[in-house]
């Protein structure tokens, strides 16, 4: 299946905060929009990504107060990015190998977007559905071949 990443993206624009924002602002945005990431931008260019994992590893476990911390100091800088024209398999491979749950995607038409693990799960569900249908068809053929055979 040679589907492209563009086939799996939702219409949602990526959540973004300015690189000078405080972590508390990012948390409020993530909570209100129900996303587990924000892209960190400067002049509309993606500088990094901040996720729940960054919150845990670089803020909460360091016993820092989110209002006192600038997002650019705890984000993951220069995250791995893909293009809308890349195959979805590349994203799956990165998610499996590196544990990424959100991958920034460059889209020249609508600015930065993010491919989430849930977008990819849609792809995997499609594969499973196909597999089950094929399996079901095969079992039916096997059952039919027993009727009066031989």
């Amino acid at each position: 299946m040679n589907k492209k990443i563009s086939d799996f993206l939702s219409d949602d624009k990526a959540l973004t905060v300015d690189s000078n924002a405080r972590v508390i602002d990012a948390i409020k945005l993530m909570n209100s929009e129900k996303h587990n990431y924000v892209l960190v931008t400067q002049n509309n260019n993606v500088q990094g990504i901040f996720t729940e994992r960054d919150l845990l590893n670089r803020v909460l476990s360091e016993k820092k107060l989110p209002a006192d911390v600038k997002i650019c100091d705890v984000m993951t800088p220069n995250p791995d990015a893909l293009s809308v024209d890349d195959y979805i398999g590349y994203a799956v491979e990165r998610m499996a190998r590196y544990g990424y749950r959100n991958i920034p995607v460059e889209d020249s038409k609508q600015g930065p977007v993010v491919l989430t693990v849930w977008n990819v799960m849609t792809h995997i569900s499609d594969i499973l559905t196909d597999a089950e249908e094929i399996e079901s068809d095969r079992e039916m053929v096997e059952e039919m071949s027993d009727i009066g055979g031989g």
């Binding site: 994992r53 919150l55 590893n57 890349d86 491979e93 990819v120 594969i127 597999a131 399996e135």
Partner: protein
């Protein structure tokens, strides 16, 4: 190829032993453990070792008052999700996937008939398993253009 997934039982999938907590574990300690163990979730057990809850990174983002550090004195039972959805090792991969996809859970505890946790299944475990089962979907791709050498000297 067909039938691999429908016949893949949870007990055949690599899954890790979870971080195990008591309801009175201090949240600040849990955060440190999750960081050290590189985990996004931990399970909560009662005195008999039975599952009673789960705490995830999502809970730490959405349930704490991040305007102060008062959460340091909170306990796990104040933020955990009680009676989380579970799966048994005799069930199948596609059933776990359906639960996780529908409920947007990134972790699901695997339990035995007595509700003792035998492991925890993460969404990454599932993606890795599916990628292995269906290499033609993910591996027989043209070379990754983003993996090309960026320098002029070969290795």
């Amino acid at each position: 190829m067909a039938g691999k997934i429908p016949r893949t039982q949870i007990n055949s999938i690599r899954r890790r032993d979870p971080i195990r907590l008591s309801p009175t574990s201090r949240l600040v300690d849990v955060v440190m453990t999750m960081k050290d163990e590189k985990r996004g979730a931990a399970i909560v057990e009662d005195n008999d070792g039975k599952l009673i809850g789960i705490v995830t990174e999502h809970d730490l983002r959405t349930k704490l008052d991040h305007g102060s550090l008062d959460w340091h004195s909170m306990t796990v039972e104040q933020v955990m999700i009680s009676k989380p959805k579970t799966i048994k090792s005799s069930q199948y991969l596609h059933e776990a996937l359906a639960i996780m996809n529908t409920c947007r859970f990134r972790h699901i505890p695997v339990v035995d008939d007595d509700n003792h946790v035998t492991g925890i299944l993460s969404i990454r475990d599932i993606i890795m398993r599916v990628a292995k089962l269906y290499p033609q979907e993910f591996l027989n791709l043209p070379p990754d253009p983003h993996s090309e050498a960026s320098g002029q000297y070969g290795g």
